[in-house]
């Protein structure tokens, strides 16, 4: 869509379909180790689902990819996260610029208490968008399959929308700044089944353009919507770690690890 934004990242040279890669990742909250030694390569323009029992660190790992953990004063991330060949945790990288390229959708729909239009436009505006804002808002809302429902009430407060609509607005807000990766932290867990279905459909369409990483507790959702699945577990010291990672079909039909099999068949967790 012809937007040029200056950023510190190198242009994509050789990442062989890999959008982002974590190497030897560990996350500590104060003295507590929340995630231990995790390495994962996330495929570009695919949907990768993170599944696992509660407290296994999957949300923490997700938030590593756009440096959202920086906001927690006690959090400490070690290891490397490579995005376009550069470690986003290198000292000269600005988290603000990372988040422009790696967007996020949260568990609870959290639109700004402003107009629908402003929700979509704000991110673009603060990031120095110079094109036609009306056009961007319309395109983005169409993209998020929300345009037809809201085109007549763009100036209305976003909080007047239903929960499902709010969440799609949050997705629209995230893609309005044209990121490369969209992180979704249990995006449908607060929604009813029909709204959930619409979000899943939307994720499938968006995956044509964006790399999506989604944390979910809903195993069926992971199976329905994702191309790849990563299964996380928690050890005796409550540190989360990656158990198995592969194509979703493989993980769900033919898991290599006994623990994965136990989890997806519902024997524990």
């Amino acid at each position: 869509m012809g937007i040029s934004l200056s950023h510190t990242f190198q242009p994509a040279t050789e990442h062989n379909g890999c959008a982002v890669e974590a190497r030897g990742l560990e996350v500590h909250y104060g003295p507590f180790r929340a995630v231990k030694d995790t390495s994962i390569k996330v495929e570009a323009r695919k949907i990768t689902a993170f599944i696992g029992p509660s407290g296994c660190g999957k949300s923490t790992v997700l938030r590593v990819f756009n440096r959202m953990n920086d906001l927690i004063p006690t959090a400490r991330v070690t290891g490397e996260v490579l995005f376009e060949g550069q470690n986003i945790y290198a000292p000269d990288v600005d988290a603000v610029e990372v988040r422009r390229r790696v967007g996020m959708v949260f568990q609870k729909p959290n639109p700004f208490p402003k107009s629908i239009y402003e929700n979509v436009a704000w991110g673009a505006r603060i990031n120095g968008f110079r094109g036609n804002m009306d056009e961007l808002v319309e395109q983005t809302l169409r993209h998020a399959a929300l345009w037809d429902e809201v085109k007549d009430k763009l100036q209305q407060n976003a909080l007047a929308l239903s929960g499902g609509q709010q969440q799609r607005l949050c997705i629209a807000r995230a893609i309005a700044i044209q990121p490369d990766i969209v992180l979704m932290d249990e995006p449908a867990s607060a929604l009813d089944p029909i709204a959930t279905l619409r979000i899943e459909e939307l994720m499938r369409t968006l995956a044509e353009e964006y790399t999506i990483i989604v944390v979910t507790h809903n195993m069926q959702q992971a199976a329905r919507v994702s191309d790849y699945t990563a299964f996380f577990m928690v050890d005796e010291e409550r540190a989360g770690y990656l158990v198995e990672y592969g194509a979703t079909r493989e993980i769900f039909t033919n898991p290599k690890d006994k623990r994965t099999e136990d989890y997806i068949t519902g024997r524990f967790g």
Partner: protein, 410 residues
């Protein structure tokens, strides 16, 4: 309903306990309402009522060719004044402001004050005036045969318009109201930005370390320091220490030889210090109440910390911050002790004209009046309390309106 198993629910007893507590809470509310009602009754009772008024000169005798005094022209009034007061006094009036420049109302006021000289001999409370009217009238007729007994409201437009005066019949609260408004204006103009700024720093920027925790504890403690201590501080720092600045001498606004630091500015600065901890704590609470998910949404879009604060945290915290400001204004406007220490003047007949004026405020004025022995001053004080209450309520109403407008627009 029969209960089974190892349960003894005692429902009746549990409900009874609940009823006892709710009755206690209701009692607390009733006591509060009675106290408030008694206070209001007391003030209103003093503010209105019968008064026995004696004129030194009967205004009817001053009528010229059947035209009553209040309808006479400025020239006629000036003549009456010249005929009744000494030449020296007349020259003094002329020196204050030449008669040619005075308007009719000002001359009329002089005639009332110097010629008619109404003197209130006695006042009765509103309750007595209404329910014991006959007794009051006979008593007045016995004691003050010359006096005219009439129903008098102490809270009149004249009371608001007139400056302080040594005669209770003519005294008003204009200087005190203007003094209060100037002081509050300076207080808010200083304390609001500083308080909100400090709250933003403490909530959004400050790391959780020892130094900041000490600062936080100190702010919480300062909110509970007796206000007279702030008066001492203001006296030492603003009135004495920064005298060249607070008196206006440094800026050349006033004559350096007569300048002193007991000005509106010193009072405003002192009250600003006084309400700063309150403002900071309230603003912090308001900022804390802004949901974290909103902050995350903002950061997630690549907003900087400042953009997040400016576009999301502050607009959403503003209603709460304004509520805190309402409380702080209410506190400041009613403060007396620190202003006495800082040097509010007991008797100021000149309106404050700027930050470097001598000043008095409404609470000080009320305090002055209540310490006088005469009945009339008690009524004046009661009327001034009503003015203070109205001033307070209208300031609060403004803040509430502002708050509602902002919370709708965000």
């Amino acid at each position: 309903m029969t209960q089974t198993g190892p349960f003894n629910p005692q429902t009746a007893r549990r409900h009874r306990v609940g009823r006892v507590w709710s009755a206690l809470f209701l009692g607390a509310i009733i006591i509060a309402i009675i106290a408030l009602g008694a206070l209001l009754y007391n003030i209103i009772d003093e503010s209105f009522g019968l008064a026995a008024i004696e004129n030194r000169v009967d205004p009817d005798s001053l009528a010229i060719e059947g035209v009553p005094l209040e309808d006479l022209s400025k020239e006629q009034l000036t003549e009456i004044l010249a005929a009744h007061v000494s030449a020296g006094l007349l020259r003094r009036f002329e020196n204050d402001q030449p008669f040619a420049e005075r308007d009719r109302a000002s001359v009329y006021a002089l005639v009332l004050e110097r010629v008619v000289e109404p003197q209130i001999q006695a006042t009765w409370s509103l309750t007595d005036s209404l329910f014991r009217r006959e007794q009051v009238l006979t008593e007045a007729a016995e004691k003050y045969p010359q006096a005219k007994v009439e129903f008098r409201s102490w809270l009149t437009p004249t009371f608001l318009r007139m400056p302080q005066s040594s005669k209770p019949e003519l005294a008003g609260v204009r200087t005190a109201v203007l003094g209060s408004l100037w002081t509050i204006f300076i207080t808010i103009a200083l304390a609001f930005p500083i308080g909100v700024g400090a709250a933003i720093y403490l909530e959004e920027y400050a790391a959780d370390n020892l130094v900041n925790r000490i600062i936080q504890t100190n702010i919480n403690n300062l909110a509970g320091v007796p206000s007279i201590i702030y008066g001492m501080l203001g006296l030492a720092i603003f009135v004495r220490g920064l005298e060249p600045l607070t008196s206006g001498a440094m800026l050349g606004v006033v004559d350096a030889t007569t300048a002193n630091g007991r000005t509106v500015l010193s009072a405003g600065l002192t009250l600003a210090l006084l309400i700063l901890p309150l403002l900071i704590i309230n603003a912090q609470e308001a900022i804390k109440a802004v949901s974290n998910s909103l902050r995350e949404a903002s950061y997630g879009l690549g907003a900087t910390r400042w953009q997040t604060i400016w576009y999301h945290v502050l607009p959403n915290a503003l209603p709460g911050i304004l509520t805190g400001t309402i409380l702080a204004i209410s506190r400041a406007i009613g403060e007396t002790a620190p202003l006495v220490v800082v040097g509010a003047s007991a008797f100021v007949a000149l309106d404050p004209s700027g930050p470097f004026s001598k000043f008095t405020t409404l609470p000080i004025q009320i305090y002055q009046w209540t310490t006088r022995p005469q009945d009339q001053y008690r009524s004046l004080a009661a009327a001034a309390i009503l003015v203070l209450l109205v001033l307070l309520l209208s300031l609060n109403a403004t803040a509430v309106l502002l708050r509602n407008r902002y919370s709708r627009s965000v």
